[in-house]
Point group: C2
Chain length 288, copies 2
């Protein structure tokens, strides 16, 4: 089965399990938050790393990928809330709080965070010794110490530390994706942190570019928000061409950070291929 | 060391760890949400059950207790938000969103949920085989399928299922406390579910009674909210004396549900002693 299909199937199982004893509206909100998905970049990256490391337990790699995607979906739902971005649209449809109301958006985000850890425990049933490192990787990525909660919280500080902001808000989940892939395969994971961190930084730069010049219908959410909300942006800092070159450099850095593993060359190819899709073609061409 | 001191120490370590790489306001909000604590009923119950089951690893029992308390603190912070109870006060001080603003209240809640699972993984370092069941117990207690997210979400439904509402909103964390205590001690945990569930139901009845007749200065939060918000309440259903008798019955049920274990008699005594404090003396006396 294609890695993407495996991820969709694992996410479907997690949602179906929650629906069994959940109030109806909350169950619908969870499904709405997770399906249809975006590009599923993070779980695909996690699965690719597990594969490159010679994974021997696909249920665990799938659980790890699903956990990271569930955490990502949770952060999108909460970031869209009126007290943060107050976004009306997400992934081409109404944001969750616009469709279901604010209480269910808060609760769906909470439940998705919890479900992320449950997905790890379910996936690790045949490899209990690997669960501890995976829980720690995912909790670091989601938490207050450099995780996505920290990333969003930097926006509440009077002085923002730009590098820590991006590392936490975007890099942390990508770094978790590569580390979790390695940990799911039973190999040391710390060396995989930078691969994901660089990809995350590249993705952040691409997001800044798309926000600055993108088309809302392609992006599925409003554009021009960085300027409107005075948020830090690679485009504002480096200009459009500078930002596109920075993106390319970051992908090169990610690839050169890949630790020795059985399928390093194939993984490099996969990463480059995915990164090509970070920007719509017409924008990427501007830097050629 | 006293079980309560152990819990405070484990919570302190978790908060101190988050503070190390967290934006300053988020770090302060996390500390504010967890200290000074309430009665720490759930982690005390968890530790007592672990002790009654002959626990051989206190770090794990402490991690389990701290996880449940962190999840509880998260739910208090999110339940107080303007889109739910819109509470100004909690534990005798301003609610978190009143003290730090709504964005940090959402993020602190999220981070506390994540920290709960991290506390389990840290605690289980010497007993990796027990981590899986503990993660599942805690995720069930927090999640959409009968956990606290489900409990709060019942308030968003047009028709509320009262029994499922109370089970999820209050019972789930108490049930998790007793099950996690057993799982931390390495004994089968499912048989411990009802002990916690009955204690949780008793606590809910006590909370309804305190809300109906209590003193805000004792309770640390506004009273009369059940009537004001038209929430279901044991007092409205059974009358004051009926509710007090129901509370006593539930404590008896909890005690008779205790599975065979090495310190069953001592645990019964502890549970009865704790339950005596659910109500201020002058109210408890009304039913005598």
């Amino acid at each position: 089965m294609d890695p993407l299909d495996r991820i969709e199937q694992t996410l479907e199982t997690a949602i179906a399990c929650a629906e069994q004893d959940s109030p109806r509206k909350l169950a619908a909100a969870l499904r709405y938050a997770v399906f249809p998905g975006g590009a599923r970049l993070r779980p695909k990256l996690c699965m690719s790393v597990a594969w490159a490391c010679g994974a021997d337990d696909w249920a665990l790699a799938e659980g790890a990928g699903a956990a990271i995607e569930l955490l990502h979906c949770a952060s999108l739902v909460h970031d869209d809330l009126p007290c943060f971005d107050d976004a009306d649209m997400r992934r081409g449809k109404l944001s969750l709080h616009r469709a279901f109301g604010e209480p269910l958006a808060v609760l769906a985000g909470d439940a998705l965070i919890v479900m992320a850890f449950d997905a790890l425990a379910v996936g690790a049933q045949n490899r209990p010794g690997r669960l501890g490192p995976l829980v720690r990787i995912v909790s670091q990525a989601g938490g207050a110490a450099g995780g996505i909660a920290a990333g969003q919280a930097w926006e509440c500080e009077p002085q923002i530390d730009l590098s820590r902001y991006h590392c936490a808000k975007t890099g942390s989940l990508f770094a978790a994706a590569t580390m979790a892939g390695a940990a799911a395969a039973g190999v040391p994971h710390e060396a995989w942190r930078n691969v994901g961190a660089y990809i995350g930084e590249a993705y952040q730069v691409a997001d800044d570019i798309r926000d600055a010049v993108g088309d809302a219908s392609v992006l599925g959410k409003p554009v021009g928000r960085d300027v409107a909300l005075a948020r830090p942006s690679a485009c504002r800092e480096l200009g459009l061409q500078g930002a596109i070159h920075r993106l390319d450099d970051l992908v090169d850095l990610a690839i050169s950070a890949i630790p020795a593993c059985s399928r390093a060359a194939e993984l490099s190819g996969l990463i480059r291929q995915e990164a090509m899709r970070f920007l719509p073609e017409d924008i990427a061409r501007l830097a050629a």
